[in-house]
């Protein structure tokens, strides 16, 4: 117990978790926006848009996240000069958010597409038969129902995103949890069990409520047919 208190006194553990939560929230927001755009492209009547979105999803879904994160630093930042801020930490934070968002958007797109598959074809036919155009049918009828049908997979994507946010260490975000854990182990190898428990339990505490909430919302928001 003394070990725990000493570790909490010496290191800003809560601050590190906060960095991961921030990474997660920003990435969730951006990947949701990009995921919606991608899924609309995938169901659009224009075949070239469908192909581009399909290619994007296959590429990012099948690429390891670490490679994307390393690319954000060594490729996008060092070579292509993509810079968000002159402050070192801020810059790498947003590079990490960009990498996480690009990666997670592919999974958001797939989650929403599974939701779209729960919407009967007749809903789209009825919308078209009334003279609604593609954007109106998608925005007013198909996507609202698809969202409600994909709460559970979207929740799983959010959980994966929160855990994936530790890969931000690969994008030189040095204040987040996995970086802090490495640092703590380096200086307190004698307290390695306590250190593991702190981070393991920390993530479990963060993630269990997300699971409970998605299960609840999934039932509450389910479209009655």
């Amino acid at each position: 117990m003394d070990n725990f208190l000493a570790l909490f006194g010496e290191y800003d553990v809560l601050g590190a978790f906060l960095v991961n939560i921030e990474l997660t929230l920003w990435s969730a927001l951006f990947s949701l926006v990009l995921g919606v755009v991608l899924v609309m492209m995938r169901i659009s009547p224009i075949s070239s848009l469908r192909a581009v979105a399909g290619g994007y999803v296959e590429l990012f879904k099948n690429m390891p996240l670490t490679i994307i994160m390393v690319f954000m630093v060594l490729g996008a930042y060092a070579q292509l000069k993509l810079t968000f801020s002159d402050t070192f930490a801020t810059n790498f934070f947003w590079l990490a958010v960009t990498g996480l968002s690009l990666y997670t958007a592919a999974f958001v797109c797939e989650a929403l597409r599974s939701g779209i598959n729960t919407v009967p074809l007749g809903q789209a036919e009825a919308a078209r038969a009334l003279g609604l155009n593609f954007m109106q049918s998608a925005g007013l009828i198909i996507l609202p129902q698809a969202f409600r049908g994909s709460v559970a997979p979207l929740g799983n994507t959010l959980i994966a995103l929160l855990k994936n946010s530790t890969v931000a260490a690969a994008a030189s975000v040095s204040t987040e949890t996995s970086s802090l854990m490495s640092e703590m182990i380096e200086f307190h190898a004698d307290a390695i069990i306590e250190i593991f428990l702190i981070f393991a339990i920390g993530y479990v505490i963060l993630i269990i409520p997300i699971g409970i909430l998605t299960t609840y919302l999934s039932n509450k928001l389910a479209v009655r047919r």
Partner: protein, 259 residues
């Protein structure tokens, strides 16, 4: 006393061709589902399409607002050939009302929103005006008291009557009914047919694919009999039911009328 308004846009200048299909062909891969279909429906006419299942009647109905594409031939609505896609196609669909077998009410919208959605979004009608129109139509099909509910809370018959009101809210030139009573429990069939008969009497141009022979006899101006993707007979209800010309039609009628 106020004259009761009609559901339809009126039966004036009846007689000119509103929907024309000429030499329409369609395949599903190797299956030839529509074979050289030629059909003209005049304004104010109530056409009932009957035939065995798989005869292509639903497919033909769905080609008229291009929910199904065609391989060759021409379909004209109010003199204009059917647009291929885009805004013009949306505009045409707004003029053609459609009622589906499975109702297809928008599951994420209330009954009132189902009826007001298209007038507001497509016709850019003022919200208040659209709601007045919707309540008026819902009242006429007898479900005004359900306006605030979600579709899943209504019976099948009520849902289908809402679907009819939703289509009528666009003030369509012609209404397509694709087996509107086939998915209903038997005790709900008549409440939907009553609304359709009323519409027919008010002069709405209607194309109905149905198995309801009582309705066909009572409301139709003309019956078209389809089998194997072809139109085999076309005539008045009396001609068709009492003196069918082809063996296929005789066979079909003997199977459905001998209970």
């Amino acid at each position: 006393m106020r004259q009761p308004e009609t559901l339809a846009t009126g039966r004036s200048d009846a007689g000119y061709p509103l929907v024309e299909l000429s030499h329409v062909d369609k395949h599903y891969d190797k299956l030839h589902v529509l074979k050289d279909i030629n059909l003209t429906v005049n304004k104010g006419e109530v056409l009932v399409v009957v035939g065995p299942s798989g005869s292509g009647k639903s497919t033909m109905c769905r080609t008229i607002n291009r929910l199904e594409t065609i391989d060759s031939g021409v379909i004209r609505v109010d003199g204009k050939p059917l647009p291929q896609e885009g805004k013009e196609l949306a505009n045409l669909r707004a003029e053609v009302g459609m009622v589906f077998q499975s109702f297809n009410l928008f599951a994420n919208k209330t009954i009132l929103e189902n009826v007001t959605l298209a007038p507001i979004k497509v016709r850019h009608m003022d919200k208040k005006e659209a709601e007045d129109l919707a309540m008026d139509l819902l009242d006429r099909v007898g479900v005004a008291s359900q306006a605030g509910k979600m579709p899943s809370q209504l019976s099948g018959g009520q849902q289908q009557r809402v679907a009819i009101a939703r289509a009528l809210a666009m003030r369509p030139k012609v209404m397509l009914f694709d087996e509107p009573t086939s998915a209903l429990d038997p005790e709900m069939v008549n409440e939907v047919l009553d609304v359709m008969v009323e519409l027919a009497h008010e002069g709405m141009t209607m194309i109905c694919v149905t198995h309801e022979m009582g309705f066909a006899r009572k409301a139709a101006d003309r019956i078209v009999f389809m089998a194997d993707g072809r139109i085999l007979e076309s005539g008045t209800p009396d001609e068709f039911f009492d003196h069918p010309k082809t063996d296929r039609a005789k066979d079909f009628l003997s199977k459905i009328l001998t209970h």
